[in-house]
Symmetry: C2
Subunit: 313 residues, 2 copies
């Protein structure tokens, strides 16, 4: 049976195999991705981001249990764009998730960057589609840090959770530019620590300053103590409320269109670069071109312009 059919038939090993192909940028994945695409678009995608040490993995663990307890299936993608390797930290965190490994309604996968140009965002999207077609009701994308790459990855979500902890004042300042705008729901985790209410206040003030367009949704702030399972059910209610808002306001449709555009452009870019590299030839041919530039016999702008013009003639 073909890989795509096996995925649709709930073969978990086929899912794992296909994701590995995607991660490795193996063209063998393509026929399966094409075949699965018509079966996608049903999952609800939840992004979880925040500074390292904010307790994202524990929170994801608890959210997973909550979703499972009401019968929803959950796919988890843990992404670490900062690590050129399979992230050690992520693997460590995953140990905490072990109890879900025996649950057929949960699929967990870690992904690390392979250093490809824009590769991780494309790969993450592909994995979302695979888990969507596989029938996961909710797909959680968890990122390790809060850099620009994480922001890009979390943008693929329908709802974005930003996790912080008490006493991260400076870090909040540092991350606010990119993060405040993408957060639909904020969580102050480890809320039994000193300064939790102060952090909530600071967040409220910053969100108040945040004069971004869609004002119809006011991002709520939840306090949780994930390790003690405290505040999780209120947070789940908040997540449900955001999904209702997305549907009722037409925002979900808008987000899906934006997400499709980003994905389309990324696939386009990837494909164009592959074609271009094939046109240039082998590594040696590329090195010859580069030597001309390094020796200032040619400038890269004119060289590229001429090449692309010939190809697109």
């Amino acid at each position: 049976m073909k890989l795509a059919d096996r995925v649709l038939n709930k073969d978990v090993r086929a899912v794992a195999r296909l994701i590995t192909l995607v991660e490795n940028g193996d063209p063998e994945a393509l026929p399966a991705l094409k075949a699965l695409y018509p079966h996608t678009g049903r999952a609800y995608i939840l992004g979880v981001t925040g500074a390292p040490g904010a307790g994202k993995s524990t929170l994801v663990d608890k959210l997973t249990s909550a979703f499972r307890s009401r019968g929803q299936t959950v796919g988890i993608i843990a992404v670490d764009p900062t690590s050129p390797f399979t992230g050690g930290a992520i693997l460590g965190d995953r140990i905490r998730m072990q109890r879900h490994y025996l649950d057929k309604g949960v699929f967990i996968r870690s992904m690390a960057t392979r250093g490809h140009l824009g590769g991780l965002a494309v790969a993450t999207n592909d994995v979302v589609h695979i888990l969507d077609a596989y029938g996961m009701d909710i797909i959680l994308i968890e990122t390790v840090g809060v850099g620009q790459d994480e922001v890009e990855i979390v943008k693929t979500a329908h709802t974005c959770l930003v996790i912080t902890v008490p006493g991260m004042g400076d870090d909040i300042q540092a991350i606010k530019a990119g993060i405040l705008e993408i957060g639909d729901i904020f969580v102050v985790n480890k809320a039994d620590r000193e300064g939790a209410d102060k952090t909530v206040k600071e967040l409220e003030i910053m969100l108040g300053f945040n004069t971004y367009p869609q004002k119809s949704w006011k991002p709520p702030i939840y306090k949780t103590i994930a390790v003690k399972d405290e505040g999780i059910s209120a947070l789940v209610e908040g997540i449900d409320a955001h999904l209702s808002y997305l549907k009722d306001s037409g925002e979900l449709k808008k987000r899906k269109l934006n997400q499709t555009e980003r994905e389309f452009l990324e696939i386009l870019q990837h494909n164009l670069m592959q074609q271009a590299m094939a046109k240039i030839g082998d590594r040696e041919a590329l090195t010859r071109l580069l030597s001309k530039i390094v020796n200032r016999e040619a400038d890269p702008y004119s060289l590229v312009e001429e090449m692309v013009k010939t190809w697109f003639a």
Copy 2:
């Protein structure tokens, strides 16, 4: 006179104007960039990265004074990839640099991301070339944070300085994946704070674990108190030593080739996307394509494949 000629004639207003064109992605910049390219390749490019609050701007300020005192001209590019706006933080820091504004041997420019796909790295490279052709001996690229984007930007430098401060244990852990490999020189700034020696030790241990290829250069760690001008001259000696190493080992040539490759590929990617968007047509045509995907009448992989095949026929 043409913009490029004015830059070569040391017209600082032409430099500022050209950088603005580059920042805005204005195609008018292209003829000037092409004309300037043969006049580039002489500047020594120094990247400065580190967590927010590490005192990078002050350090850049002091390094600038040190370089100026021995007659070298200095270009400073302060890059903030996290901010979709011109970074407020950067502007604030720049006030400290004001005394250099009257110095014709110093050119300072802040750059923020414009949200283009891979745009900031390309734009930063272009600005490096402009300041190089303008005759700046040393070009300092200062980044605001330590995300993957900053790592990409700092990779354009010949020498990379990583700035940290005492008591950033957790942060060092968080950033180490991407940062340790690119750091040629490490600086523990604000070294009069408690725990400076401990931070140096921690860095030494982490650098010891760091089993990356080029082992011929062992990254030194310097302690500085930039606000008091302490440790700066030792740091400058360390920078000089690294430049000597780069030249003697052939590593400089290698880095220039790698850097040219990255730049070439980025320009290629940018150019290909422009051509592709022109082929697709206007915004309406793109939206029609996207709607087909959103409605699952087509999958993005096949659609892109067919389009690109036609263009490259």
